[in-house]
Amino acid sequence: MLTVNHLAKSYDGEKKSLTDVSFSVRSGEVTVIIGPSGAGKTTILRSINQLIRDDEGEILFDQIDMRQLNRVQLRRARSHIGMIFQSYNLIEPLTAIENVLHGCLGTKSNFAGIFSIYNNREKEEALKLLQKVGLEEFAYQQCRNLSGGQKQRVGIARALMQHPKIILCDEPIASLDPKSTITVMDILRGLAVNDGISVLINLHQVDIAREYADHVIGINNGQVVFDDRTQALSDAAITGIYRKNANLEGSLVHES
């Protein structure tokens, strides 16, 4: 589904943020990336849909290298990659249903986008997705009036509206209370198991990773230090992932 090979990225040309990161994500599985903050988790996720332009490596999504695409091709590829954010990133003054419908604009013309033209099938689908995340009665609420958990569920519905093959989640539950965390993680898990979507999640809660992940990737200091099934994630492995200043190569500088 998604294979990342030898990804490297540096800011300012010196300080390496990622050095030689390789891993792959299978369809219908929840893959979780864990690691200390500043280890490069967000950089990896954002490199996949090229929100961050990486310096070296190969990102094969459906056998196509995302790094080789031109502007139009990249836009087309992105329209099938769902993304979920820690701060939800909804358009707060608009209603939930409008935000969900934004998900299908990637494949439509600018004209349709500017005049908010959606066909009946899309509208029906948006309603169904809101029902799926349990928010059908909030369809006409402005998103700024929703709670954090509700906003994140709108975000998931919006991502699903894109008919994604993969959903990238950047710390999706970092701002949520425990109850909403479970709701959101259950929904994400369901997407992988029932709909066969690959779900790639950045997390910093190890217990959640253990409970929901099929596969875990541990990142420390811009390098993959763990890449195995969840069952293999022993306490010793976790200590290894979270070890401070994992100075694997002398040249590495620890990011605070």
Binding site: S79, M83, L90, E92, L94, H102, G106
Partner: protein
């Protein structure tokens, strides 16, 4: 209505140029800046004030005549050379002029702002448009109207185009500043979903912008109303400003000026009430 232009003229980012040799502490730098600025302002004021009073000038007599005129204006307003209806028509003209120029200005400025916000446009374009607008803004509205009244002939066309010029330059800046203040998150999210630029502007930028767009446009309407009066007087472009100019500098009739000032104040009061309402609506 309080005009939050102080936000405009003061960009918040700290310059990243070469450091001062003596690194001043943050608060010290502020205090020294304020002290120095105040000193310079006080110095300029103190050397200017004495030179402004001309020789053989009777300040007492001037003040007497000034208070007398103020008294005539505010306490004995009445009309002799013109009718109330004529003045009402003239006031209407000025209001229409302010409305038309604000409308034209806000539509044009919106597109210029899209092309001059760092969020959406490439840097050379941003800098180009911003410098052009700064130059247009530097020329007072009256001069624009005077210039266009030579090209188009004295009349509505010159007044509208002249005031619109200044409105566009001003609104482009404030709209672009409000766009710059938008969080980049929502635009980035839309890009991550593969949306096209027009769609992003319509679905992510505009919804956040509506309220500041309205309040800035309203502020500009107030400015344009004042400008419409000034232009009427100084460039002979009609409206209540022209009537004001005629009454005061041709007929020296301050009773009439009083009536007009009261009319203008009444309209200003209406505007102030509207802006108060608008603010309480947007603050909800």
């Amino acid at each position: 209505m309080i005009k939050p232009e102080n936000q405009i003229s003061l960009p918040t980012q700290v310059p990243t140029g070469p450091r001062l040799t003596i690194p001043l502490r943050f608060r010290d730098r502020r205090r020294i800046t304020i002290m120095l600025t105040l000193l310079v302002l006080a110095y300029i004021t103190l050397i200017t004030l004495p030179t402004m009073i001309p020789s053989h000038f009777k300040l007492g007599a001037a003040l007497m005549s000034f208070t007398e005129n103020i008294k005539i204006m505010f306490l004995q307003p009445h009309l002799t050379n013109t009718t109330f209806l004529t003045l009402l028509g003239a006031l209407g003209q000025s209001i229409l002029l302010a409305f038309l120029t604000t409308l034209l200005g806000s539509v044009l400025a919106f597109f210029f702002a899209l092309a001059s916000t760092r969020r959406l446009a490439p840097t050379p374009l941003v800098l180009g448009i911003q410098s052009l607008m700064a130059v247009i803004r530097a020329i007072p509205t009256v001069l624009w109207v005077l210039i266009y009244s030579v090209v188009f002939g004295l009349g509505a066309d010159a007044a509208v185009v002249g005031i619109t010029f200044h409105s566009v330059a001003y609104l482009t800046k404030v709209y672009a500043d409000s766009m710059d203040e938008l969080s980049p998150d929502s635009i980035e999210t839309m890009q991550a979903m593969g949306l096209k630029k027009g769609t992003i502007i319509r679905q992510a930028v505009i919804p956040y912008l509506v309220s500041s767009y309205f309040s800035w446009t309203f502020i500009r309407f107030e400015i344009n109303f004042a400008d419409a009066i000034a232009v009427g007087a100084a460039a002979g472009a009609g409206g209540i400003g022209y009537q004001l100019f005629m009454s005061s500098s041709f007929y020296f009739n301050f009773h009439e000026v009083g009536v007009m000032v009261y009319m203008i104040l009444a309209f200003a009061l209406v505007l102030e009430i509207i802006s108060y309402r608008l603010r309480s609506v947007t603050n909800q």
